[in-house]
């Protein structure tokens, strides 16, 4: 292998690495090491994921029966609002970028750290401040506007803590902006010698595209929330029809960010899945350049389609036509990705390790979620299914079935690198299976419900919808178990897991060429890259005998 990196085969016990170099709370809270910040983020987003999941379980329990018997109407409204807000802004948007991206982007490009380590830490603190505000908001009354904050309900009618929730999301938005900024500068400026654009892992391309959206989209939601807060506090009239304002303006501004934001959530996951598929089929990615450019295309086209959330909101018919056709434009690069992943499997040498199972799950569920997106982008169908459970099912298929699957796959794939320990493979495969089954049981019935006309954000519903709702609730319970399992065995492995070798999967990529866990500055010597990404042919010819199986 044409590597300039020394790869110590034997693991010296107690090698100095980023985890054991310093001890103490302050060495974590004041760290500028991107890997430690990634772990800080990991803990924070896991916390919020379980809060959001807890809300989801309460939602599902309430919907077990047609009448509202578990919680009050207002409580239910707060539940789905905060479920949405927590899951979107405090879990999924930061999930892969701020954890895996933070950990891996510098390593994958061969840098010692992100370009601005202190800003990286600042971004975590902003996240925490926003998170504390959100928690405080929830504990002292909560907010009930729906995660979409539609005016004039949020500005003039809701009597919950809209301002605090708005500011919390404002703050956490800047955390997201700073992460994106750091990635872009790092990817442009900090690549190791020889790491050309054409050699970058596709994970990096995906994060680059994500960062573009974070940088250019997030400020728009920030200013929109400022306007909402100001309007609510001072009754300015910018969104209030009584004072001459236009409530649809809010929706335009909100979705200008929030549609691209869905690609903030899915692109990193696509990056993860690309790495996993390449590694476990021992192949270079089919059509590297197309996969790379499709990420950029998704990011750019993603900005052109926002009003497809507003087809029946009262926008002009002509605008609806324009936004519908543009929505199909953004589906093309997604299709390109799906086909290239599939083609990568062709003539591969496919292993069924846990990360790959998650990647398969992603592939299937994303495809279904994406294809149902086509239903929604279709004007004639959307005017029936808009704001029904069909939409709920669509986006959970992409965000839970796609993005969260990808996130879990990535966590399994890189866990040996992050923690230096191996997780129990059998349990991991079992968890993947449980998540997959639970997921489909939860959300497939919702497509049927949606087409039958069950509106979303209903805490009581006509009795004929009950059977499907019961199925969905049952599925959510299974899904909950599926999510608790990895949590448990990851924690378990930190103490009892077998030490991981530097490259347990025999994977390509610079991050595998350093120790597990990596030293503070990632590499003992600055790497010089002379090979393409996904050089699995070279890797496999070296390790003919070794079977990359763990556990």
């Amino acid at each position: 292998m044409a590597t300039a990196i020394t790869q110590p085969d034997a693991q010296p016990i107690e090698r100095e690495n980023y985890l054991n170099k310093h001890y103490g709370v302050w060495s974590w809270l004041l760290t500028t090491d991107h890997k430690r910040i990634a772990l800080l983020y990991l803990m924070s987003i896991t916390f919020f994921f379980f809060i959001g999941g807890f809300f989801a379980l309460l939602i599902r329990l309430e919907l077990l029966t047609p009448t509202g018997d578990l919680v009050q109407a207002d409580t239910y409204n707060k539940l789905f609002t905060q479920h949405g807000q927590v899951m979107v802004f405090f879990f999924l948007i930061p999930s892969i970028p701020a954890v895996l991206g933070n950990f891996l982007v510098p390593m994958m490009v061969g840098a010692k750290d992100l370009a601005f380590p202190r800003i990286n830490l600042l971004s975590w603190y902003l996240y925490i401040i926003g998170g504390i505000m959100m928690l405080h908001c929830m504990l002292t009354g909560g907010v009930d506007t729906g995660w979409t904050f539609y005016v004039p309900f949020s500005t003039a009618f809701s009597n919950t803590k809209v301002i605090e929730a708005g500011l919390a999301i404002f703050v956490v938005g800047f955390s997201s902006i700073l992460t994106g900024l750091n990635f872009i500068v790092t990817i442009h400026r900090m690549r190791a010698p020889g790491m050309t654009w054409g050699r970058l892992p596709l994970f990096i391309w995906a994060h680059y595209a994500t960062s573009v959206i974070q940088i250019l989209g997030t400020p728009v939601i920030a200013i929109t929330l400022v306007l909402v807060v100001a309007e609510r506090a001072l009754h300015l009239g910018i969104f209030d029809p009584k004072l001459g304002g236009d409530p649809l303006l809010f929706q335009h501004l909100f979705w200008f960010y929030s549609h691209p934001a869905v690609y903030i959530m899915i692109l990193p996951s696509m990056g993860v899945v690309t790495e996993i598929i390449a590694c476990f089929s021992r192949k270079r990615i089919f059509g590297y350049h197309f996969v790379a450019l499709s990420s950029i295309a998704i990011a750019v086209f993603g900005f052109l389609v926002w009003a497809h959330h507003m087809f029946v909101a009262g926008i002009s018919i002509y605008a609806a036509l324009v936004f519908s056709i543009l929505s199909y434009a953004v589906a093309v690069p997604s299709a390109v990705k799906v086909f290239n992943w599939t083609a990568t499997l062709y003539k591969g040498s496919i292993h069924y390790d846990a990360p790959m199972l998650y990647a398969f799950g992603f592939l299937g569920l994303f495809t279904i979620g994406g294809l149902t997106g086509l239903f929604l982008a279709c004007l004639g169908v959307d005017m029936h299914v808009h704001d029904t459970y069909f939409v709920i099912a669509h986006f959970h298929y992409i965000m839970v079935g796609g993005a969260v699957m990808g996130y879990l796959g990535g966590m399994h794939f890189w866990w040996p690198k992050i923690s230096g320990k191996l997780y129990p493979e059998g349990w991991a495969r079992l968890a993947a299976l449980i998540v997959f089954i639970g997921f489909n049981l939860t959300f497939f019935p919702q497509f049927l419900l949606g087409y039958m006309g069950m509106p979303r954000r209903y805490f009581q519903y006509p009795a004929e919808f009950q059977v499907l709702n019961v199925l969905s609730t049952a599925g959510a319970t299974v899904l909950g178990v599926g999510y608790l399992l990895p949590m448990i065995y990851f924690l378990w492995s930190m103490r009892y897991g077998k030490p991981a070798p530097d490259n347990p999967w025999n994977a390509a990529g610079l991050e595998w060429k350093t120790a597990s866990p990596p030293p503070t500055f990632n590499f003992d010597e600055e790497p010089v890259v002379t090979w393409e990404a996904y050089n699995y042919d070279e890797l496999d010819s070296e390790h003919k005998q070794e079977v990359p199986v763990v556990g």
Partner: protein
């Protein structure tokens, strides 16, 4: 690069080079690139406001014109000039740093801040006028019987004028907030310059701070005609 020793301050090694950068040049490029990207963010931040402005200006042109006429364009114009001068002093400060003119650099930084303060002062006068005239959106807002400039005898709708003033206060207010942040940055720069941190070889913070300052200037360059000069010709 670091061999070309920093004669002025007598330092041999630049402590500002952070561990994870290979060279000073890499670090400088990263910083200015980062700042430009941040400014891109800022453009979109103000962009949302411009979008709202554009729509309502189209809808309520007459009311906007009437409301715009009630603000003092002379003060706004003066403020534009003040900001332009401050931008000049910023580039001069950087030039002074590049050419080792320490006194000039300090003087220019002080001048920049004075211009910035002058801007805020004038802004304050404007705000006070609006406050006295009850043009601040809210319960005490009043804009009755103000003629629409191009339609004599026709009165502006106070509700729509209120939207103008809401946008006016939010846009100029956020701009002023950026000025305050800028003054904070420049206080730090002044302190660092005083301490002799900046040399012909290393004055990245000055350049970065300057970029920010100029950007705030550019925002104002747009705000001025858009807010102060609607339909002024009658």
């Amino acid at each position: 690069m670091s061999d070309s020793t920093v004669a002025v301050q007598g330092e041999t090694h630049n402590p500002a080079l952070l561990h994870h950068f290979a060279t000073e040049e890499q670090q400088r490029n990263a910083s200015s690139f980062g700042m430009w990207i941040f400014l891109g963010t800022e453009v979109m931040f103000f962009g949302g406001l411009f979008c709202a402005y554009l729509i309502y200006r189209g809808w309520y042109f007459g009311d906007f014109a009437a409301a715009s006429k009630s603000i003092n364009a002379a003060l706004g114009g003066t403020n534009t000039a003040v900001l332009i001068c401050s931008s000049l002093t910023v580039v001069l400060a950087i030039w002074a740093a590049q050419t080792s003119r320490r006194a000039l650099m300090l003087a220019m930084l002080v001048l920049t801040m004075l211009f910035g303060l002058a801007f805020l002062g004038i802004k304050g006068i404007e705000y006070r006028d609006k406050f006295v005239e009850h043009h601040v959106p809210g319960p005490s807002f009043s804009f009755e019987h103000e003629e629409i400039p191009s339609h004599p005898g026709e009165y502006a709708n106070p509700r729509h004028a209120e939207i103008f003033f809401a946008l006016y206060f939010i846009m100029t207010g956020l701009h002023a907030l950026h000025m305050v942040v800028g003054l904070g940055i420049f206080s730090w720069l002044l302190w660092a310059a005083w301490k002799g941190r900046f040399t012909p070889e290393y004055h990245t913070p000055l350049e970065i701070g300057g970029l920010y300052w100029h950007f705030v200037d550019i925002v104002w360059i747009y705000l001025f005609p858009l807010l102060y000069l609607i339909d002024r010709h009658r």
